[in-house]
């Protein structure tokens, strides 16, 4: 039996070591913290000391960025074993990874790279998610990607692809609403249509983050998933749309570049918490 993902249905924040002393100085109005798994795979030192202190006080989400689940080659067993050690040690409420690949032929690219959605890639992703859940003994959450291009060989819409992985493996889904917004803009599609077809009943966590604006080959807007700025108004609107339908779901503020001071980050989390609290009041009324 797999341990189900069970983050509290509150606003949480991506933990950054630069905020450690602020966060640990006094109790924070934050439901959970999320850390990138790969930052805590060293043998010892301050990272583990901080994570131990954080874990004693808050619910914890471990978010992997380097497993390369979208790889067509076998998963990196040594890396999976490291993830298991980390999860066994800190017993997080949730473990999540991406529908993307980041390694190929032993090279680690440090980016979440896209894959075509076909019956072949679907079968491989299902295999990999099964393997992760079996090794960890936990349900994992799979996150929808932000993408900048498409593959002509794709035959399955992304939402169907994610839904089928969840149906076959029992994994939960991590709905990154910024990624929905970024991808919809980049592919000239409707974010609301994406969300309305998304299996929201499988969503166990939501991510909100900032993006940057650039232009593509023909001068059309191209959004980049940078996590380096406040959440945009468009993303907040989509978030409210989702929460009105689902009720409260654990929601993470992701801010990984140009990291602001702790009060700024906490204020973003407070805005998400307001949306969640309003939804709870409405459903209780």
């Amino acid at each position: 039996m797999l341990t189900a993902s069970h983050l509290p249905a509150c606003a949480g924040v991506g933990f950054k070591p630069v905020h450690a002393s602020d966060i640990l100085a006094s109790p924070q109005p934050v439901g959970f913290f999320e850390v990138h798994a790969e930052n805590y795979m060293g043998a010892g030192g301050p990272p583990h000391a901080q994570l131990t202190a954080l874990r004693e006080r808050y619910a914890l989400s471990v978010h992997g960025v380097g497993l390369s689940i979208g790889s067509m080659r076998p998963l990196d067993r040594a890396h999976l074993a490291r993830l298991k050690r980390l999860c066994d040690r800190y017993q997080p409420e949730s473990f999540s990874e991406h529908l993307a690949w980041s390694s190929h032929d032993d090279i680690y690219f440090n980016d979440l790279l896209p894959l075509p959605y076909t019956q072949e890639t679907l079968a491989r992703i299902i295999e990999h998610v099964d393997e992760v859940q079996t090794v960890l003994g936990r349900q994992m959450l799979l996150e929808n990607p932000a993408t900048y291009l498409r593959f002509s060989e794709s035959t399955i819409p992304e939402v169907d692809f994610l839904n089928q992985v969840a149906e076959h493996t029992g994994c939960g889904l991590l709905l990154d609403i910024n990624n929905v917004f970024v991808s919809a803009t980049n592919h000239d599609s409707e974010p609301l249509a994406y969300l309305d077809s998304f299996p929201l009943d499988r969503v166990r966590e939501i991510h909100l983050g900032g993006h940057a604006e650039e232009t593509d080959d023909v001068g059309a807007p191209l959004l980049i998933d940078t996590h380096g700025s406040p959440i945009s108004a468009g993303v907040w609107a989509l978030y409210k749309h989702v929460i009105t339908r689902t009720g409260s779901i654990a929601t993470l503020i992701e801010w990984d570049n140009d990291i602001p001071d702790w009060p700024t980050l906490r204020a973003e989390a407070a805005m998400a918490q307001d949306v969640l609290s309003t939804a709870s009041r409405l459903s209780a009324a």
């Binding site: 790969e38 930052n39 795979m41 060293g42 043998a43 010892g44 030192g45 301050p46 990272p47 583990h48 000391a49 960025v65 380097g66 497993l67 390369s68 790889s71 067509m72 080659r73 990196d76 890396h79 690949w101 980041s102 390694s103 190929h104 032929d105 032993d106 090279i107 680690y108 690219f109 440090n110 980016d111 790279l113 894959l115 075509p116 072949e120 900048y148 291009l149 498409r150 593959f151 002509s152 060989e153 980049n186 592919h187 000239d188 650039e214 232009t215 593509d216 080959d217 023909v218 059309a220 191209l222 980049i224």
Partner: protein, 261 residues
């Protein structure tokens, strides 16, 4: 065609001269080069940034632009082989040593070695250092036969350049000032508790600690240290070893009488 998209995609990521992979498309362009460039840029610039985080003093010494250009060459020649980016760049100091445009700064590679050692110390296994009281209780007659299990975070970086001073002045640990005494410095990098310490070792200190680290006794290490530098001072070096929390354990030899003939 199994996995073929990944191979062509991966090959084109680190080689900007390759055409963008077949089958990659966009709603408004059949061959979206700028869109593919987002991935190329994410990969290279995030790895350059990772190197900048690990080698901030090298970056400070050469300037951001030079550093980025140098790091980009390293990233494409030696991309990471593991998702653990904290240790990416162990090969960077050796690369810097052979990077022709940096030839005018002969100390740069050794400063990079010092910074690489600092990150390894930061992430090294935790171990409680042996306290001064345990040393005080030791029997002086066997002192020469003692062996020291070194702290897992400890590393020595020897250099013919004043790398500790250069590092300290460019990392904010010490005020920038003209270097009056341009001579070699051996650095000790260790993290006995949570803070990474960088110190300059006294004469012979590096040879002494390196001998201890390979399992030699204090007596043998003293010989090695004196051979390295006749100014080696055992008392001062032992005090430094204890005071810096470098010993994880003291291995006391069994009394001779109990040994098998």
């Amino acid at each position: 065609m199994p996995a073929s998209f990944q191979t062509s995609f991966a090959d084109a990521l680190l080689d900007a001269d390759r055409p963008i992979p077949h089958g990659v498309t966009a709603h408004n362009a059949a061959s979206p080069a700028r869109r593919f460039a987002v991935y190329r840029n994410n990969v290279v610039s995030s790895l350059v940034k990772a190197l900048g985080r690990r080698f901030p003093v090298v970056e400070q010494l050469v300037g951001a632009e030079f550093f980025a250009a140098m790091a980009r060459v390293f990233v494409t020649e030696q991309p990471p082989r593991s998702p653990l980016l904290a240790t990416y760049g162990d090969g960077f100091p050796a690369f810097v040593a052979t990077f022709a445009p940096a030839r005018d700064l002969p100390y740069l590679a050794d400063v990079a070695r010092l910074e690489a050692a600092r990150t390894r110390a930061y992430h090294a296994a935790d171990a409680a250092p042996v306290g001064a009281d345990r040393f005080a209780k030791l029997d002086y007659e066997v002192a020469g036969d003692l062996r020291i299990a070194m702290h897992p975070s400890a590393e020595i970086v020897r250099s013919p350049f004043p790398i500790v001073t250069i590092w300290a002045m460019n990392s904010g640990e010490q005020q920038l000032a003209p270097l009056e005494n341009w001579r070699g410095e051996d650095a000790l990098v260790a993290r006995p508790l949570l803070d990474v310490q960088v110190r300059t070792l006294p004469p012979g200190g590096a040879a002494f600690l390196l001998a201890l680290a390979t399992g030699r006794s204090i007596g043998e290490a003293t010989e090695a240290a004196l051979a390295d530098d006749p100014d080696f001072d055992l008392t001062c070096n032992l005090a430094g070893l204890i005071g810096s929390g470098l010993a994880r354990d003291i291995i006391i030899p069994e009394p001779k009488g109990r040994r098998q003939p």
